[in-house]
């Protein structure tokens, strides 16, 4: 086991014994949906049906599910290029996400954005940003609007460990803290930036949490592979934000099962590291959790079968969908719908 990828601390109790069965099943269904859809995206890539790049969240499903399930309608998500999971977790239909990855007309943005820019304003997914760190200040602005207008929604900004060393991260944290904005910064620390371990290029052990004190924020590190821990931490951060008590910075320890992007076989990882983390696979952890709470194997299977059926159906829908109409090439550059820059 490399020292770069230690397991999450056991200091946080993992079990939400008070959330009730319905929520618990939602947490599982959401994670399982993300797993199946991401796995399908990878399979479709191997068949050359997903074009361009893609950054999968396989292994990181508990973070997306925990935060999304704890959200209220109207809360806003800001994602990175690794945004499929967060987009799906907000309830965006699977075929719209796969359709975008497959560059079809039924895609979320009809193929104009692609994998790295999934956006569904209707569902509160305010964009996926492919410039590292860019969306942290943007989330601050959305939170500022809520504060200014007295609205109760919270803006949640997801990013990777690599983001913690870029200027916009620090500007945004200070800005949010000074203005007491209702924004939550969620660092998914999967221990690698792209190829380089984050520990090799960062002055502190916990790239996000160890910076919190510099902005007067609480140091929070959690097990990002346990959806119950994530859900509980998220809920208290939402509560704090809605109460006008300002931002939170939460570092979730997790691990991506695949490489950085589709071009990366992740050969830089020490032998055995992936296997070790797979023992703490969030899906596996949560499936066992359901069993502990007395939920029967049949009920769990029913969820899994239903999700697989939906992913299959979405795949078929996308395969049958046409490519984007060519006339959208020049639409929506300006608000008048077109791209005219002169008369």
């Amino acid at each position: 086991m490399a020292k770069t990828a230690t397991h999450a601390p056991a200091e946080h109790p993992g079990i939400n014994d008070d959330i009730g069965e319905e929520l618990r099943l939602r947490l599982y269904r959401t994670q399982f949906k993300l797993r199946e859809a991401e796995q399908r995206a990878f399979d479709l890539f191997l068949q050359n049906l997903v074009k361009g790049t893609s950054h999968l969240s396989l292994g990181q499903e508990a973070v997306a599910a925990g935060f999304a399930v704890a959200m209220q309608p109207g809360d806003l998500s800001f994602c990175t290029y690794r945004g499929h999971a967060h987009t799906l977790a907000r309830g965006v239909p699977i075929e719209q996400v796969l359709g975008e990855l497959m560059q079809r007309d039924n895609g979320l943005m009809r193929g104009k954005g692609g994998s790295m820019h999934l956006t569904s304003v209707e569902r509160g997914v305010m964009g996926s940003y492919a410039i590292v760190g860019a969306h942290l200040p943007i989330a601050c602005g959305a939170a500022w609007r809520a504060q200014y207008k007295g609205q109760k929604d919270v803006s949640v900004c997801f990013f990777g460990d690599g983001t913690t060393n870029i200027g916009a991260f620090h500007e945004a944290l200070n800005f949010a803290a000074v203005w007491k904005l209702p924004v939550i910064f969620v660092c998914e620390n999967n221990f690698y930036m792209e190829y380089t371990p984050i520990s090799e290029v960062t002055a502190v052990a916990h790239p996000a949490a160890d910076r919190a004190a510099a902005y007067g924020l609480e140091r929070i590190v959690i097990d990002g592979n346990d959806a119950d821990v994530v859900y509980r931490t998220a809920s208290s951060a939402y509560q704090k934000a809605r109460a006008g008590l300002g931002p939170s910075l939460i570092e979730c320890l997790t691990y991506r099962h695949s490489g950085h992007s589709r071009a990366d076989p992740a050969k830089y990882r020490p032998d055995g590291e992936l296997e070790k983390w797979k023992e703490r696979d969030p899906i596996k952890i949560y499936r066992e959790r359901l069993r502990q709470f007395g939920i029967g194997e049949d009920a769990i299977r029913a969820i899994e079968t239903d999700v697989k059926r939906r992913v299959d159906a979405a795949t078929e829908t996308c395969k049958a969908a046409p490519p984007p109409a060519l006339d959208i090439l020049t639409t929506d550059v300006y608000a008048d719908g077109g791209f005219a820059w002169r008369n």
Binding site: M109, T119, G127, G141, K149, F175, V333, W341, R342
Partner: protein, 326 residues
């Protein structure tokens, strides 16, 4: 009608829009309590309060990012970047975020914001606080780019920018802040994408922007007085959208084209206009179009060097005279 400085016109323009629409908010470094380093936003904090007029840390990325997030979710922010040279430290928002968000989300994300900035030379501040960078922004799809030359245009174009549904980069010229002009009473709202013929003439068309407009007018007056050459001066005002019809119309009458640009020569805004005229009005021309620009250099601090770098009244007049004589 009252005489107003360009500087006071900025505050009046912002106030006009903030009074009209509670969704208009204003943020930037030293803009509230201090009233701006150029004193262009004095009184706004007192008039509109600390929730709408906000001082920020020296965090240009946070300023522009926050403006964008606010714009995407329903506000109409005006953000100030103190010196336009500082665009380089927050250029991601200008180059990658504002103008691309609508397109790549297939129209879902809207970004109705204004970035005001102090542009241009004349203050002897040296290379990092003096450059004219309007051409940096002109080349980015999805942005609109405006640069007023008079107090009246400051108010009218700022109002148009705030009311525009697209992101607008609003270049104020630092050397114009103390200049004065007549401004009508009451609300002023102009139209983006409209150039203005500020001096009529039949012998040549001179296009200019911001600080170069008064210089072009003075040069035209000098040419008329000393050589009987009658130049038409067009204040381009808006680089995007670009009012090519007014420009082409003027060239069709005068048959000669000159641009007066403060930006460094390479890829300056005049190059694009010359290319349009060459494409579409070549046979209207009686001679080659001429670009009068700052050389391709960083700007020096010393006054005699800075003055030498920028197109001056004498240089503009001499260049036009020489071209028309040949």
């Amino acid at each position: 009608m009252a005489e107003l400085t360009y500087r006071d016109a900025v505050a009046r323009g912002i106030a006009q829009e903030m009074a009209r629409d509670p969704d208009v908010v204003f943020l930037g470094e030293d803009v509230a309590k201090a009233g701006g380093v150029f004193k262009a936003t004095v009184g706004l904090l007192e008039q509109f309060g600390p929730l709408r007029v906000r001082d920020t840390p020296i965090s240009e990325q946070a300023i522009l990012g926050a403006a964008m997030g606010a714009a995407m979710t329903g506000l109409k922010p005006i953000a100030e970047i103190m010196f336009s040279d500082f665009f380089a430290v927050c250029f991601d928002y200008i180059a990658n975020e504002f103008g691309k968000s609508r397109y790549m989300t297939n129209g879902q994300v809207k970004c109705p914001l204004v970035v005001r900035t102090g542009n241009g030379a004349g203050s002897r501040f040296g290379a990092q606080h003096s450059q004219s960078v309007e051409n940096w922004c002109m080349m980015i799809p999805g942005l609109k780019v405006v640069a007023p030359s008079t107090p009246r245009d400051v108010i009218g174009l700022l109002a148009a920018a705030v009311r525009d549904p697209d992101p607008v980069i609003f270049f104020e010229h630092k050397s114009l802040y103390p200049t004065k002009g007549e401004v009508p009473d009451g609300e002023i709202v102009d139209t983006l994408g409209t150039a203005k013929i500020v001096r009529g003439g039949g012998d040549a068309t001179i296009l200019a922007l911001a600080l170069m407009v008064p210089r072009a007018v003075q040069a035209a007056d000098k040419l008329k007085a000393e050589h009987g050459i009658d130049c038409e001066v067009v204040d381009v005002r808006s680089l995007v959208p670009l009012d090519t019809q007014t420009i082409l119309g003027s060239v069709a009458r005068t048959h000669r084209l000159f641009t007066v640009e403060e930006n460094p020569r390479l890829c300056g805004w005049g190059a694009e206009i010359v290319s349009i005229v060459a494409d579409e009005a070549f046979y209207d021309l009686d001679g080659p179009p001429v670009r009068i620009t700052t050389p391709h250099i960083p700007l020096p601090a010393a006054d005699i060097l800075e003055d030498l770098a920028l197109p001056s009244v004498e240089r503009i007049a001499e260049r036009v005279r020489r071209s028309l004589a040949s």
